[in-house]
Every structure is written in structure tokens, then in C-alpha cells.
């Protein structure tokens, strides 16, 4: 079975979710593009988009229609050559319209798992719950094709564990997209020891066709991405706990969040990122990691407590941000949760004092967005962090400690051989988290790491 054979019949589980919808989009486009190739005109392609919610599947179809239009608009040059023999399609608008029809004609929304039984490739993108994943994959294994391949989007569960629990005999690989899959360039590829070489080749080819940046990660819970992010976030929580005695909880959250964003030039503050990913998702990932990794203490009573109170973060169906550790207005942080009083303290009440305590960021500070677009980014960052190193303010102190911790976490992933090389850790943070620089750097200790 070659690449196109494999993609003739695909199922995506959790298709209407945040990750699943992006995976459906990219996969349907890839399948449609194969189908439009004259060599494949005799083939039929079907993508079964399986989810438990009818409503969410309707929303998925709407999302696909909009997103395929955008994709079509970006490759109209190519589409005109593809539809060259269609005399009825003359204008770009007609051609893009036909492309939308052709991609959507491949997608079959379904609420029953049986829809996945004929699939040759199954993408799993359901909740980060090992038992749920095992149950669903087990069902397909029992009733589906014996040669079906499984690509799981898990961001933390070891692939070998899923392989063994479902007895897949190596028919599974980790294919971890970043959120949102249609935008983020990064894919973490995780091979279990038993993963079939042909499946690994297929996954590599698929990632390449999707123009993704592939980073291989060893099959260790959390992989590289969450291996760094979870520890980074837990460090931030521990800093808040350390500072809270002196400054109070809400103000400490504000300060650590600000340091991680403005002083460290990241796209968003660490607590905003935790809210974006979802406190509940973070808790699930931490559980998976904590149960499987020795001596990690990968747990946060703060996160657990908030989730139990029903504060989960994540997004509403329309994509807007739900409240989490921070409160959001028009997508921007507007308050910080006070767990004692169970209310959000408006930022306006704490920011001025917090800013005064932190002191001003380095004079060379520029917003993250400006920095990532700057052609001379490396030179800029050298100068910026030199200035930061010489400053004697609370903000600079917190930033340096944070930067050092982030580097320590990165090097730990290399030492534990989760990542083969420090460059892989940096690539994951640069492309999956949009950082302006990798965590393994010499900005905070002046030391190059070989």
C-alpha cells in the first residue's frame, strides 16, 4: 500500500475538537489534493470525522468551509493549473469555490465510532485521557481493518504504553500537532520502539507534505513540548507561591506573568498560556507525566484546586478565551483570580503596584511581535539580555532566574535523552510555542552549551 492508498480512507477521532478540527482540515486538504492529481483520478477518498457532538460537527463543517476557502485563496496559482480542463471554471472565485466543494465532498461527519472501521489511517485526537484513548483504539482494533495504522495526537502519553495496552503490534505512532494545527508549523514525531518502519515513513511523508517542521522526540511522557512547558509552568507557580507571602497571591501572579511575557519577550505570559491550553488539560497532562516519571513532583495543588472549583480556562465554541487563573476581556487579561475570596481582582487594582515593584523592563525592550519580525533578531537579543544582566531590580532578578530555569529544563530534556539534541528543544519552543529564542542559550549565564 503506497502513500495515496493509505489516505483513501481516513478517520479522525475527536474531529470537532480544538486539535481534531485542525487535523481534519489539513488531512482533508491533503486527500483532496491527491485526488485532484491526474494520477489519482480513479481513486475515491473519504475522511470520517468522528465526534460525539452533532452540534460540534455542524460547527466543524462551517469551520472547514471557511478554512478551505482561505487555503484555496493561498494556492489559486496551482489550482488554476489543476482545473485547467474545466471550461466552466474561469475566474479565481469559481475555481476556489469548486475546490471548497471538492475538499468538503471528502469529509463525512459521523457520531458513531463504527464510521472508523474501514479506515486505513486513524487519527486520534480525543481528550488527554489514557483510558479513553485505549478504549476507543481498542474498539477499532477489534472491529476495524487489521492493517489500520494509528496516529495519535497525544501530547503526553507514551506511545509504547498505548501500543501495549491496545496490543497494536507497532501499528501506532505519535504525531503531535501544536495548537492550532492549521497554523503551527511544528509536529513532534514520537516512535515507540515497536512502531512499524513503514508507518514511520508514512508519518514523515505526511508531515512533509503538510510542510510541517518535524522534531523527533523520544517516547517519554510529556515528550519535548510538554516536557518543557509543564516544568516551566510549575516553576512559575512555585515562584508565585514564594512571592505570595510578601506581595499577596494576585499581585505575584501578575508579576510572574509580566516577567515571563515582557521581560523574557514571550508571545504571552506563562499564566495566559496555561489558561489558553486549559487548566483541565494541563492537569491531565501533569497527571500522565507524574504517574510515569520518577521523582518529578509534577503536580500543582493550585491548578488542581482551580479545576475542582470549575475554573478551567480553554476556549468557548466561538474561540474566545474562558477565564482561568486570569480573567479575560476581549481576549486580553483583565484580572487575576484570588482563590481565598474566589473573585477576580481587576488588573487595574494591582498592576501599578506590581509594576513599581518589578521596576521598568530594560530600556531596549520591544514587544515580542516586533522582535520576531526583526531581521537582526540575534544581535538585538544579545544587547537586550546584556542590559538585563546588569540590572538590579526585582523584575530583572525574576527574569534571570526564570531564564536560567528554562535553560535547566531544556538541558534536562537532552540529558534524559527525551530530545536528541539541544537544537531540537530550541526548535520546539521556537516553532511550537513561538518563542523568540530557544531556552538553551547563553543569555542568562553567559555559557554556551556544546
Amino acid at each position: 500500500m503506497d502513500y495515496a492508498d493509505r489516505l483513501e480512507n481516513v478517520a479522525v477521532l475527536g474531529a470537532a475538537g480544538k486539535m481534531g478540527s485542525g487535523i481534519v482540515l489539513l488531512t482533508a486538504i491533503e486527500m483532496a489534493d491527491l485526488g485532484l492529481d491526474s494520477a489519482n483520478r480513479s481513486r475515491g477518498f473519504a475522511l470520517h470525522a468522528v465526534d460525539i457532538s452533532e452540534k460540534a460537527l455542524s460547527a466543524l463543517m462551517k469551520y472547514l468551509r471557511e478554512q478551505v476557502r482561505r487555503a484555496g485563496e493561498k494556492k489559486t496559482v496551482w489550482l488554476r493549473t489543476i482545473y485547467a480542463d474545466r471550461a466552466d471554471l474561469v475566474e479565481n472565485e469559481e475555481i476556489i469555490g469548486q475546490y471548497i466543494e471538492d475538499v468538503l465532498a471528502i469529509v463525512r461527519p459521523a457520531i458513531r465510532i463504527e464510521a472508523a472501521y474501514d479506515a486505513k489511517v486513524i487519527f486520534e485526537a480525543v481528550n488527554e485521557n489514557p483510558d479513553l484513548k485505549v478504549r476507543l483504539l481498542g474498539g477499532i482494533k477489534s472491529h476495524g481493518r487489521p492493517d489500520a495504522w494509528f496516529l495519535t495526537n497525544t501530547s503526553s502519553i507514551p506511545i509504547s504504553e498505548l501500543n501495549e495496552r491496545v496490543a497494536l503490534g507497532g501499528r501506532i505512532i505519535g504525531f503531535h500537532f501544536y495548537n492550532p494545527p492549521a497554523v503551527q508549523k511544528l509536529v513532534e514525531l514520537i516512535r515507540a520502539d515497536s512502531t512499524l518502519p513503514a508507518l514511520a515513513d508514512f508519518a514523515a511523508q505526511f508531515a512533509k507534505r503538510l510542510r510541517k517542521t518535524v522534531v523527533p522526540s523520544r517516547d517519554v511522557a510529556g515528550f519535548i513540548g510538554n516536557g518543557h512547558f509543564m516544568r516551566d509552568a510549575l516553576y512559575a507557580v512555585s515562584e508565585v507561591e514564594r512571592l505570595a507571602g510578601e506581595f499577596g497571591f494576585a499581585e505575584s501572579v501578575y508579576m510572574v506573568n509580566k516577567v515571563s511575557q515582557d521581560f523574557l519577550i514571550r508571545p504571552m505570559g506563562v499564566f495566559q498560556l496555561v489558561d489558553y491550553v486549559g487548566l483541565d488539560v494541563c492537569r491531565s497532562i501533569l497527571r500522565v507525566m507524574n504517574e510515569r516519571l520518577a521523582g518529578g513532583h509534577l503536580q500543582s495543588s493550585l491548578i488542581d484546586g482551580l479545576v475542582e472549583m470549575g475554573i478551567t480556562g480553554g476556549q468557548f465554541a466561538d474561540g474566545s478565551q474562558k477565564d482561568g487563573i486570569l480573567k479575560y476581556e476581549k481576549g486580553r487579561p483583565a484580572g487575576v483570580f484570588n482563590p481565598g475570596k474566589k473573585v477576580y481582582v481587576p488588573l487595574a487594582d494591582i498592576a501599578p503596584r506590581g509594576d513599581e515593584r518589578l521596576g521598568a523592563p530594560p530600556s531596549a525592550a520591544k514587544p515580542w511581535k516586533t522582535v520576531i519580525q526583526a531581521p537582526d533578531r540575534t544581535a538585538y537579543l544579545d544587547g537586550y539580555f546584556r542590559e538585563l544582566a546588569a540590572m538590579k531590580t526585582l523584575g530583572a532578578d525574576l527574569a534571570r532566574s526564570y531564564g536560567l530555569k528554562s535553560k535547566e529544563i531544556g538541558l534536562g530534556l537532552v540529558k534524559d535523552r527525551v530530545a536528541e539534541r539541544k537544537e531540537d528543544v530550541n526548535t520546539v519552543l521556537l516553532t511550537g510555542f513561538f518563542h523568540a529564542y530557544g531556552p538553551v542559550n547563553r543569555y542568562f549565564d553567559g555559557e554556551d552549551t556544546p
Binding site: E73, T76, V90
Partner: protein, 415 residues
Amino acid sequence: MKKIRRKVFMTAGYHTIALGTGRKEFNPKKPRPGLEDYIREAGQGTLKQIGGGTNVDEGVISNFMAARFNKQGNLAALIPSIDESLRWKPSTRVEGACGSGGLGLVTAIKSVLAGTAEVVLTIGVEVQNTVKAIYGADILAGAGWYRGERKTGHAYFFPSLFSDRAGAYFEKYGRDKTRRAFARWYRNAIENARLCETAQEFHNACEDLEALGLTEPNPRTFVDHLNVYDCSKVSDAAAAIAVVSEEGLKRCGIAGKDAVEVLGWGQVEADLTVPPADLTELETSRRAVEKAFDSSGVRREELGTVECHDCFTISGLLSVEAIGFAGKGEGPDYILEGKASRTGEVPFNTSGGLIGWGHPTGGTGVRQAVTVWQQLTGKAGRWQVEIPSKRPYALSVNMGGDDKTVVAVVYRRAS
């Protein structure tokens, strides 16, 4: 061509800003002024300078594709919306793709020459940001031959036609120098636009414009031989000018020094269904310019400034050759020697041209006349260039489609 039998002037020019990407106030997600708003602003801008609409005998409005960009036809009936006094007066809409503005000028001139009007309010307008560029390309492709060319044409139809011209030019005269000339043309355009606060590129702050202009073309996402900096942008704008007789000037209370006189023009049409014989030449433009020189008696060496139709850098370069400032294949040298810059031999496109100021397709020809009027009457503000006494004349060349509909006009300051 016969000599003009009656003096014709232009005065009281006005244009709106050119709105589109690059302008700080442009936000594609927010509501913007519509076609009517642009027409009204430009029209009233001219009426204010000529004593109001009661002094106007007739209106002409140039526009290319409002029927598709704005789903609006019957534009002649929008002229009375500028001022109540224009109601019940004659009004005409003209269309010749991106050469519509030039046709509008000529239509007004002919009315004054015929003696059927002493004052003609002439407007050019296009509001194109109503659709994304990829769909705008469909609409603008209407300037080509739809049945004969569109299906086999490129997604970005017009950029591709001029990319083919650039490719032919590269092959014949060399790529490297030509591309450097494109980049210099781009730099000149942006530097001029930075002096003119209504220009679309007024806010452009790029430090190394020539490096940007030299960006390698990407055929996968765009066209083979041009990059996006080689192209004029998508613009919303309108321009207006009064085309008047001597009597009209008096009626409006305009002194001669505040007007330009039309000394001659050339209006030439090529066959839409026949491809250009030589891709490295703008033959129709050359013929129109020759006619304009012939009818005005003005020589090229006497021009103090030129407004040419640089919808693309290659069309700017080919215009230099079509007007005769450089021989065939010598346009790149002329540009690289700085002769077309604002401090050069003949300043071209002093407010930025189509690439720098903006290209509201059906309105561009009128906008060019406004820029010429501003330069020759000393009203060009920060973008004013010196008009030497030995070179008192100006030329505007407005082109529709791939060198199909061309109007060239020769002017001098009236006295």
C-alpha cells in the same frame, strides 16, 4: 492631428487619500467609506475652489468596475449627489479599464472644445478594497479579453501579463540590471510618496527600499518575474478636476496662474483581442505620446515633469522608453542614473505614481492630471519639484489594460 481650436484649461484639482494596505487608518475588518463618499469628497473639493456647483455645466465620471467591486452601475447619476445644483445637468460615465480617467479628461476636453460646456466637473473613482486581492484580480482581469485570455490566464491575471513583459525584457536586455532598475523605480516611488500625505505609501518607513525591491519573485505564490513591490497596490480613492474654457475660468473666478492649459493630447486604442506584437515595447503608449507631442508642438526635451502609468515597475520602465527618454533596452540605465528621480533630468511621478501614491484604477488618469496641475501651479507642497523655465511643460500618460486604451496629455501653466 488638428490643432486645438479653442483654449482648454484644467484647474481646481483635488484628490482624497489613497486608502489601502500601508495606510495606518486602513483596517480591512472595519467599515470604510463607500464609493459615494469618495465621489462626494473629491467633487466637493473641486467645487469649493470654483465657486460651487452652479458654475458647472456638465459632469464626467470615470470608473472601471464599480459594477463588480461595489455592485453599482449608473455612476453618472452619482454626480448630482455631490451638490444639489448638479441635478438636471448632463452627466456622463466613461470606462476604459485603468485608462478610464484619461478617457474622462478627453471627454471633458471635447465637450469644452465643442462649446457645449464651459466648465466640466471631471471625476475619477475606484473603491476596490471591497474584495480580497485574489478576487480583485478576477475583476481587474476584465481589462483583458475575457473570452480569449482569462481561462488560460494566471490567478493574478494582470501582474502575470506584465511579468511576461518583464521576462521578455530580461531575455532580450539582461535580467540583473533590469531588476536593479525595478528596485530603483520602487525606491523613487516610495520616497516621493513619503512627501505626499495623501499617498498610500506615505507611512512607509522601510529603510532599505532597494533591497526590498530586489526580493526574488516567487512563482509558486505569485508570478514569475515580478514581486509584490513591483506592483501598485489595491487602492480606494477619487480625484476631481475642473476642465474649463477661458470663459469658464472667468466664470469661476480663477486666475490663469492657478490653472494649466491643455496644449494637446493623444488618444489611441489598440485591439483588445490581439496580443502585443512586441512584449518589450508599449506600442500604444508610444503612439499616444507621439500624437500628444505632435498636436501640442511640444518636444520631449521641453518636459519638466511626467506622470506615467507605472502600474508595475516594468510598465514604468517601458514608459520611459515609450516616451523616448531612452532607446529600447536603455530604460534601466536611464533609471539607474537617477534621471527619472525627483532630482533628476525629468522628475517622474512626483507624488509617488501608481506604486507610491496608489492606483484607484478608473480614477488614476484624473489623479495624474491633479498631480500635474499641482506641480505646474506651485501647489505641490512638500513634493513640489522645480519646473525649469526651459522645461515648462508636463506630460501625463494613462493606460488601460495591457497597453490597449491610452491617453497622453501635454500641459503648461496658464498665464
